[in-house]
Amino acid sequence: MGNIVSKILSPLNKLKGFLSIFAHNFRGMIGLLIILMFTFMALGAPLLTPYHPIRDQWLSGAYSAPALLKQLPKALGGMPNSAENFAVTDNKDFSDGLTGWNYTLSTWKSNTTHPIAVSYDSDVGLNFSRKDAVAIPGGDGSAKITYLRDNGTSGYGSLSVAFYRKFTFPYAGTPRKWVVNINMLPTGTVSRSINYTVPIDFYNGTWADYNLTINYLTVPVKVYMYMQRLTDGRMFTIWPYSNYSARGMDFTKGSSDPGNQIPGIGTLKWDTKSLDQYWPPPNTPWVITDLMLCDSEIVRFPTTGLANATTADVVTQMFPEGLLPSDYLFGVNMTFVDPASSLKSKMPIETTVYLDNMWLTFQGRIWGILGTDQYGSDLWSQLVNGSLISLYVGLLSAVLSVGLGLIVGLSSGYMGKYVDEVLMRFSDMLLVVPTLPLLIVLIAVIGPGLENLILVIGLLGWMGFARLVRSQVLTLKERPFVEAARAVGAGKIHIMGKHILPNVMSLVYVSLATSVPGAIVAEAALSFLGFYDPSRMSWGRMLYEAQGSGGVRYWWWVIPPGLCIALLAIAFIMLGFALDEVFNPRLRMRR
């Protein structure tokens, strides 16, 4: 009974003794504390951040700065006026009638009612995605713009309507990017029809009068979307954009075109280039998928004076710091083209355009704890999740390489002769070849997965430790207790496992700790060179992305991952030194 108790207690007492010495080692405790901190970060990642490091994109604009910088004055590197994410989405789906929306019709000189009418249709809701379009009868409602001309009247020419809403951009800084969404369904009314009597010419030469049903004809609609700054009345068309180059996007104030008057704000001048390709075909419900999103990254402004205007120019011209915060309009302008001389001019016309899901979002320049990367993903989430990868790679590769080194060192040292010669020449061979290129070549052969990284780093890191163990074993082998065991008749495996292994275990612990940093830095280096696991964001890959995308100029992107790598590496080195001192009392004395 007492024997069992002492068997359980003796390792516990040993551990207690070890801990009491270790606890007095300042460096070791600091190292352990840092490692525990990163372990907490790795395991508690879901608590620390709700976002996925790669999949959650466009949380904010690309290259957003840490939110804390907004609290700092400019002199200290702060960004006090930065825009945050902002969206204009009130009543975007017209579920609340036309509340919030306004429209302006072009001048109509006749005393009859204006042919264009804007109304609310509660029976139609549009739900488009880029792939397919569905008009849902009885949906949440949409805005309905109708152009109507009775039978027998000649064409009215071009008439237009501007349908818009006002919003206030509340920040004093330029946003990074905006996106406008609109769903449109231009259509001729198919349900109403009129009977015509048409003479028909048969092939055999006879004639007959037939009653045919002809749908109301549609007129083409020219559509453009715009945003207007109310401070100075400047107007920017944001769609259509053609070939991603500048084309008639800017409307100068003052040119006279009575068709495009917007009262109190200015006059529009339509670019004369052909827009035929955007004209909706008649009679069929038609989806303008291109209209789904107007993105400031795609819109380009005219080249006059601004040769090859860039993306940044669009946003900074529309939202210049000096004029913010300011009121804006965003809306859609439609021109119904119904020339008086057209063939259709004597026929009845009804064209309807349904509008739905009109909203506008802004991506800010400030986000979260550490900002965002070039895809608007959360950097803090990447940093937190990266600690798991580094610990995982570091520890597993260290275990692999120390295990291999132990086996090689033990067998090489104890067996001697040919075993020793073969194993040591093999390890020399690996030592002589440059490590990093060899690592990269091996990764290129087996593919850049995380497990492959661990395998390769572990397989190339055992040589030094094997030599250390070997030299230790060579001296242990000659000690009396080994000789005694051999004299009693113990086998080689038994002696190695029971008598020599316990005496090199302290080396194993120390080496486990000191080979982690090498593995962590090697993983980071490989990731930085582009050999990363594409499904995971490690610290090395963060730096790779920063360098590849020009994010190097943002300290909040570059500094944290490197600092984490260095901190974790130093922590393990300190732990290793501390273990060394605990296991070798001689070192403690000499300090």
Binding site: R425, F426, D428, M429, L430, L431, V432, V433, P434, T435, L436, P437, L438, I440, V441, L442, A444, V445, P517, V521, A524, A525, F528, L529, G530, G540, L543, A546, Q547, V552, R553, W555, V558, I559, P561, G562, I565, A566, A569, I570, I573, R591
Partner: protein, 354 residues
Amino acid sequence: MGLRQYIMKRVIYSLVLLVLVMSLNYFIFMIMPGDPVTLFIHPYKKGNATEVAIQTAALRKLWGIDDPPVIRFFRYLGNMLTWNFGISFTDRESVSVLIAEKLPYTLVLIGGSTVFAIIFGVVLGAFAAHKRGGRFDTFSVVSSLIFYSLPTFWLGLVLIFIFYTNLGWFPHAMAKPPEWDVGGKFPAPFALTSSSASSLGVFVTVNPSELWRYLSGYAMHSFLPVLTLTLFQYGGFLLLARATMIEALTEDYIVTARAKGVAEQSVIFKHALKNASLPLITSVALSFGFMLSGAIITEGVYSWPGLGRWIFNAITIKDFNILQAIFYIIAVCVILANFIADLLYGIIDPRIKY
């Protein structure tokens, strides 16, 4: 064991190692995916299937790709031993020529930084060992540990951030100003002029302002990469120098020297450091591969047109000949350096008997 026997043993050992490394070098690239023939065929031919087929067959025959593996292996050994590395499949140029073209850049980087790192590391390490346990010792050990464990590429990025982005003191990419390549802007520090007085004499005249432009252009561009590699290496040298100096300073002859009244500076540098420099020599000899790893990363960060970036590109496009040549040359260098270091031991330290 006599000196001759010892040398013979080291020579045999080195040769065995060399053959082993050459075999490893061969087998790694045998299993590496990728086909040199498709790499070599000119891109504009790729559209024409028959031409490509003819060319492929011709090249396979010319390079003996379809020969039995044993023959190919021995042919490879022969080529390596005769310093014949073949051509780069993508640059379509002899590998030796390309190496000669890029080696100077890398030598400047590695050589410069290693010299600086040794000087700083050894001097600071010697002082740290001398004042062991003091504030300077703690500081230098901690700082070298930090620089030792910092990832090189991150150090490079941070230096770019400080010295290029913020201060704008140094350029961050390439080995020379880009405008030198445009329209004869390359500085001409030396000019050959034939003297008008004597038709025989050709004089080399030095244009001081051009010479200054030439040197400063290269110096400015190499500052940050060399600094990065120096910081990367100096921690290791400092720790090593400190450890060996601590060992050496406890020896009896130091006590004797001090007792004789030798100046402290002379004790440190003449008596202790000289004896402590042995392990340093081995470590420099062994660290060729290590330096190359540093060069690959540093050259990547700074777009430095040397061997490192070239090797990296060769790996990504699987241009085997380059890699085989580099691995082989580095291995030969390390083996040779080890061999020489082993022999030097006896010269520097007369106590060592073979």
